[in-house]
Amino acid sequence: MNADRLGNTQRPFLVEALTAAALIAAPFVLPYLNAAPDTVNRILVWGMFGIGFDILFGYTGLLSFGQSALYGTGGMVAAYLLTQAGFPHVVLALLIGMVVAAVVGYLVGLIALRRTGIYFAMITVAIAEVFYFVEFNPLAHWTGGENGLPGVPAPTLYLGFTTISFNAGWTLYPFLAFFYFIGIVIALRIVRSPVGAIFRAIRENPLRAAAVGHSVHAYKLCAFVVAAAYAGLAGGLLGVMQGFMPPDAFMFDTSGQLVMQTAIGGIGTLFGPLLGSAVWLFLQDFLQETLKLGATWKLVLGVVFVLLVFFLRHGLIGGIRALYGLATGWEKPAEPKDEGIASGETAEETQRAAAAESGPAVSATLVRHHASRSFTGPILQTTGLSKHYGGIAANVDIEFSVNPGEVRGIIGPNGAGKSTFFKMLTCEVPPSSGTITFEGRDITGMSVTDVCQLGLTKSYQVNQLFNRLTVRENLTIAALAELRGKFRLDMLRSLSKIPGLREQVEHTLELVNLTRRPDTPVSQLAYGEKRRLEVGLALASSPSLLLLDEPLAGMSPRERIETVKLLKSISRARTMIIIDHDMTSLFELAERITVLQEGRVLVEGTPDEIKSNAQVQEAYLGGVHEAAEA
């Protein structure tokens, strides 16, 4: 199951082919295992339902307990068309049900996605409950209330000379298997598309996904609608399968069962829900029929589920992967990582640093696609910029301007308001008063995503990476924002077909000297490498103005030397503003230095002017300097 990795191009249709083979083989093999055809069909419907849910939860990280609402909606619409409205085409009715569910999903998503995390889960529960009551009461005339809608016809296929009727059991199986196959093929394309990559980025770190220039809300809504469409279609198939659309499709239990099955099978795998429902239905049969446990089977299931969440958090597929990894050494255990590496220098690092010293083969230019060069004057200018938190003034009346091509350093004691200033520049926090102009355009009050799209971005003081993705995938996410804009629905397009993406990622890898480990997950990187990737994330969107918040923080002396070299080569083609406490490095890098103190600009000048400025010495280098001279 390499569906989870980006840009998997070696064997492009392997998963699809295996799925097709398994679906074709199933009716010939499963009867020998005593599997009832109805159970197999049921597994397919749940599996279908789960594909969409897995895209929502497993890939995008949004745990919804309200999928029953969309499942029921799609099913009821299709069943109503077929039984009450006299609509003759089963497949068309199913598709209409799917579309209606997607539209409803869009509206529900608009409300539920106003909040994140726990709130999102609670709101989806509440919404699903409303649908249940609406179906039962106000809409009972259309939905049959507690009786549901009986008499859903079986699909037929007219071939010109004969008509195939998909009635029940194994004769219905090909119909459901066909839909499941199409569903999986589309889902695989989605997760391998740029949109799928951004879904994962949102799961890993929504704040950074927004900061590198993706419209997180729009993509979340997109995932929600995709999940709704799958749910709607699965609901329709449920009605067709049973010849009856049950009202309990709307119940909270339905959502709960979906969540549990997906977690049992393995989230973020697309096939997890199918496996999970197979296990579920098998256990149900086994416990109820063979062990005669009656209604108690659900208790056993609950206990099994709790244990599973406890010990096997990636579900059965995750467990199988881990076993496979143990057996073959395929997924090597994490290399010894040096968190907070003050002195941690492996032989490899020393070697790499030496290589850096001998001059990395870095060409310093990245092509900018969206820079507007029509402005003249400073690339960035602030007037009267202030930020107050309650009674505390973090920044007061900052007048600041940077010319194109300049490298500016900002220094100041802790608490001088440097980071707050950066946050205002990237529009992460709104200023209390004052304006910010970037490339001649007033960006005050814009969103961090829009500002990044304009070409102004930041590397963070504390690493904000996509931890479970590889180095290359991290940079891909950032590069996509520049190449595709903040939102685009190219869900069925392969990531490898984006023009310029590969080059841009490779180039950024070179710039930050991470070409040796492009396919290492971030969690296995050494601290210094993470720091460089952090800068790389900002660079990959080829900004015209790059802000670096303490890029050298926490690095060993050797890492510093290497990083300063990197920053120098990066600075050749762009404007940069750097905050750091490492004076030596900063004086070496920057052409001009701005000193902040207590939220105000104290002085500004060339490194030499700053070094000899009495005010700065007094306020900042103060006693140390005098002591050294004495």
Partner: protein, 291 residues
């Protein structure tokens, strides 16, 4: 149809339901605010409280004993659950916490179903509060009036714990900034255990106090859990006053709407929630701290 006495009686029903929801939601919200865990088994705990009280009542015939038993039993359940399971999930992603508490809620429901079957059980109201009271303008079941009083007392007790004790100070501080509390050298481990126990106790108490009003069924917690979510979203996560306000609002919306058409009770409740989300995304009295 809708008469004045009908209206007032529904208004009182709303007050009783609202007070109950306020108490249950307070439990949920202080657990979430302090521990960062949304307990999906909270509804099941409400149900457990009712059944524990039922067992005690069947043995002793005393309602007071039933209330004490239901409450204490849930304190124990909460503490054990925190020590054995929840504790291991603080460092794990919120999704895992949701999954495990959801799994636990199924276990609770099915255990009760195993021992007591799906048939509903009843606990009669205590003799003192049986019958009907003449309020001058209408007649109203005495026990329902008593529920309002009893739950108000419980809320007052919870208020005193939260605002007048050292534990409460830590809990409230934890809701504002849990990292800071951790770094102040406070034994959060013990506090977390207590908070989870108290939160569970609130649900259990509500469960047994509510038992004479409704009949007990294993899956009764589900509907309450959903209503509690709406209350918390309306009131604001982590806010005790928010839970009380949200509870009363939700209770009245459900009752008043039911007077016209019970089918729309949830629709109206949901409409109110949506409105709050649009106007005040953090809830009426919510703080931005915990999200």
């Amino acid at each position: 149809m809708v008469t004045w006495s009908n209206f007032f009686s529904q208004l009182f029903n709303g007050l009783a339901l609202g007070a109950l929801l306020a108490l249950i939601s307070s439990g949920l919200t202080i657990i979430y605010g302090t521990l960062g865990v949304l307990n999906l088994a909270h509804g099941a705990m409400f149900m457990l409280g009712g059944y524990a009280g039922y067992v005690a009542y069947e043995r002793t015939g005393s309602f007071i004993v039933a209330v004490i038993a239901g409450t204490l039993f849930l304190l124990v359940v909460g503490v054990v659950m925190e020590r054995v399971i929840i504790r291991h999930f603080y460092k794990r992603p919120p999704e895992d916490q949701l999954l495990v508490t959801f799994g636990l809620s199924i276990c609770f429901v099915e255990i009760v179903r195993y021992f007591f079957s799906s048939l509903s059980k009843t606990v009669p109201a205590p003799a003192v509060f049986s019958g009907i009271t003449n309020l001058g303008f209408m007649f109203y079941p005495t026990y329902r009036l008593a529920v309002v009083g009893i739950v108000a007392l419980a809320l007052l007790a919870l208020f005193l714990v939260l605002y007048k004790t050292r534990l409460g100070l830590i809990v409230r501080a934890g809701i504002e900034d849990s990292v800071m509390v951790d770094s102040l050298g406070i034994n959060v481990d013990r506090v977390f255990m207590l908070v989870f126990g108290i939160g569970a106790m609130a649900a259990g108490f509500a469960g047994i106090v509510n038992a004479p009003v409704v009949s007990l069924a294993p899956d009764m917690g589900e509907a309450i859990l959903v209503q509690t979510f709406v209350v918390v979203v309306i009131g604001g996560v982590g806010s005790f006053p928010g839970a009380v306000l949200g509870g009363l609002i939700a209770g009245e919306i459900i009752s008043i709407t039911s007077m016209f058409n019970p089918g729309y009770a949830y629709v109206m409740l949901f409409a109110a929630m949506t409105l709050v989300l649009m106007v005040r995304p953090h809830g009426l009295l919510g703080v931005k701290g915990r999200e």
